[in-house]
């Protein structure tokens, strides 16, 4: 696996009128990594994914893409706010993922259909390919969205709360599938999730998004609503070991990439020790 950087965010802030969604985010996403973005509701996970997908322009700072066209980023939104009575089949929706590769004017041909059908089969939906997409279950729609993202032959996949509402078993199967696909298609994965039990087991790294991004862990107080306001900004961090978060005082002891461990390729590098660090100000 290379550690080539695909996307880097430099001092990215996003404000919606008075509301600050993201503040001074500095992260780099390296090829081949898989990271879970965890954090409280309204912490900016979705905003961060949309910034990377190019859907939201940062109010400040910038996003750089290295050797990566925007079309090669597969974005899978949390829940599409679409009219499900729209007259398209699951296959039609997946084919839409091929459109950017086709360019304007050219139609999707047999080759594109084959790719789309193969990908539908891969996510277990070959049987419902020609069914109207609105007739599928929520989980199936989610997998249609994944297949749609994958037929564009992306390098980076952004998943926003892909399993909200699913039970643990279904989540397990979903993330197993994602992990297999990652290996097969050499993808880089960024997944936003509330889930602290299942998701961290399937990714190499965890980052916490709460206005800004805390690498590898969440400040413990983020999980405690009462103390959130008071303690926010202190140095306490919770590090994930498998399922259960446990506390640790020294926050950046493990911040350097450990080259010896191929399973934990760093996707995100800590850039806090740059001269622009805001740590002291908070």
């Amino acid at each position: 696996m290379s550690s080539k950087i695909l996307v880097s965010l430099e001092d990215v802030s996003v404000r919606f009128q008075e509301l600050t969604a993201l503040h001074d985010v500095n992260i780099q996403i390296t090829a081949g990594s898989s990271t879970a973005l965890i954090g409280p509701n309204g912490g900016g996970k979705t905003t961060l994914l949309k910034v990377i997908a190019g859907l939201i322009k940062p109010t400040q700072g910038r996003v750089r893409y290295y050797d990566l066209k925007r079309a090669r980023i597969g974005y899978v939104p949390q829940e599409s706010v679409v009219d499900w009575r729209f007259p398209v089949s699951a296959l039609d929706v997946v084919l839409m993922g091929r459109y950017p590769a086709l360019g304007l004017i050219r139609r999707a041909g047999r080759h594109d259909r084959e790719i789309a059908l193969t990908m539908l089969a891969r996510v277990g939906l070959r049987d419902v390919a020609i069914r109207p997409v609105g007739a599928l279950s929520g989980g199936q729609k989610q997998r249609v969205a994944i297949a749609r993202a994958l037929v564009g032959e992306p390098k980076l996949i952004l998943l926003d709360e892909p399993t909200s509402g699913a039970d643990v078993e279904a989540k397990d199967r979903f993330y197993s599938l994602i992990r297999e696909l990652k290996k097969e298609l050499s993808l880089t994965i960024l997944v936003a999730s509330h889930d602290l039990v299942v998701v961290p087991r399937f990714v190499d790294d965890v980052a916490c998004v709460a206005k800004t991004v805390h690498l590898h862990a969440c400040p413990s107080e983020i999980w405690d609503e009462e103390h959130f306001q008071r303690l926010y900004g202190t140095q306490m961090e919770a590090i994930f070991h498998g399922k259960v978060p446990h506390r640790m005082v020294a926050p950046h002891a493990n911040a350097k990439p450990s080259r010896g461990d191929p399973a934990r390729t760093r996707n995100t590098r800590n850039t806090r020790n740059t001269p622009k660090s805001k740590k002291g100000k908070r």
């Binding site: 599409s80 039609d92 839409m96 004017i105 139609r107 109207p132 989980g139 989610q142 997998r143 279904a170």
Partner: protein
């Protein structure tokens, strides 16, 4: 009965206009832009009156008004400053008000004013046929060229944008084309009723199929049937053509709604319960 020259012209114009508006209506209905069509048509009244006042071709002045109204409604809505229905209400009234003003400046009574408001089969001139043909050609070619992008961005604008489809450009393009299409149909069906020809065929077709190819084809077929039979009926029993077409279309729509095969399936789809239980992955 179609031997009279004016009737032949009305028929040719009706065939072109109905197919054109049905295809545009496919996108209008799916994007829930029906009321925009109403606003655009009424704003065109200002252009019709201005054409009369200055003695310039009506098609030209009406096009300028309707395209300006269409793009204007689109722009203020898209920037999020004003709600869509508010914007439509304002452009609608402003166009009509300008129309009334321009008419008051012109001495004497304008005889064919009523035909612009309500449509007239007598009003279509040979020149009109060429104008309608040119407009239809331009609109249909552009729709065909950008069809897959329009489809994808109508289904899910955000995903389309994320995958690099120029969704904003397509939105304005569609508004422009809808405005032109409306103007080309005004003489035949009238300002007040033209939006029905935009909405009814696609709304009816959606009661019969969930495949976009079929919906498009059925839509054109319904539009054609309403228009041709409406013209025939209006000729036979001497009633206004626009009103006849719209009443016919509404009747077929209500009938379709009542006996739609899709409506019954919706609540109790045999595959639905099964697939819902199978969870997120499979």
């Amino acid at each position: 009965m179609f031997q009279a020259a004016f009737m032949q012209r009305a028929l040719i114009a009706g065939v072109m206009v109905s197919i054109l508006l049905s295809v545009l209506g496919f996108f209008v209905v799916l994007r829930r832009m029906s009321f925009i069509g109403v606003g655009i048509a009424h704003a065109a009244f200002g252009g019709v009156a201005l054409g009369h006042l200055l003695g310039i071709p009506i098609f030209l002045s009406a096009s300028v008004f309707s395209v300006a109204a269409g793009l204007g409604i689109g722009a203020v809505t898209r920037r999020g400053r004003i709600k869509e229905d508010t914007a439509i209400g304002i452009f609608f009234a402003a166009g009509m008000a300008l129309g009334v003003l321009f008419l008051s400046l012109k001495p004497g009574y304008i005889t064919d004013l009523a035909s612009y408001l309500f449509g007239s089969i007598l009003a279509v001139t040979p020149t009109d046929l060429w104008i309608i043909a040119a407009a239809a050609f331009l609109i249909l070619v552009l729709l065909a060229l950008f069809f897959k992008e329009l489809l994808a961005s109508s289904f899910d604008a955000e995903l389309a944008r994320a995958s690099g489809i120029p969704e904003g450009f397509l939105f304005y393009l569609l508004l422009g084309l809808v405005s032109l299409g409306i103007v080309s149909a005004i003489k035949l069906v009238g300002i007040i009723l033209v939006s029905a020809l935009l909405v009814l065929p696609a709304a009816t077709a959606l009661q019969w199929s969930r495949r976009y190819g079929w919906v498009l084809a059925l839509s054109a077929l319904f539009g054609l049937a309403y228009t041709v039979s409406g013209l025939a009926i209006s000729y036979w029993i001497d009633i206004p053509s626009g009103a006849t077409i719209v009443i016919l279309g509404t009747a077929v729509f209500l009938l379709s709604l009542a006996i739609s095969p899709l409506r019954r399936r919706k609540g109790n789809h045999p595959d639905r319960t099964r697939s819902a239980r199978s969870g997120t992955t499979g």
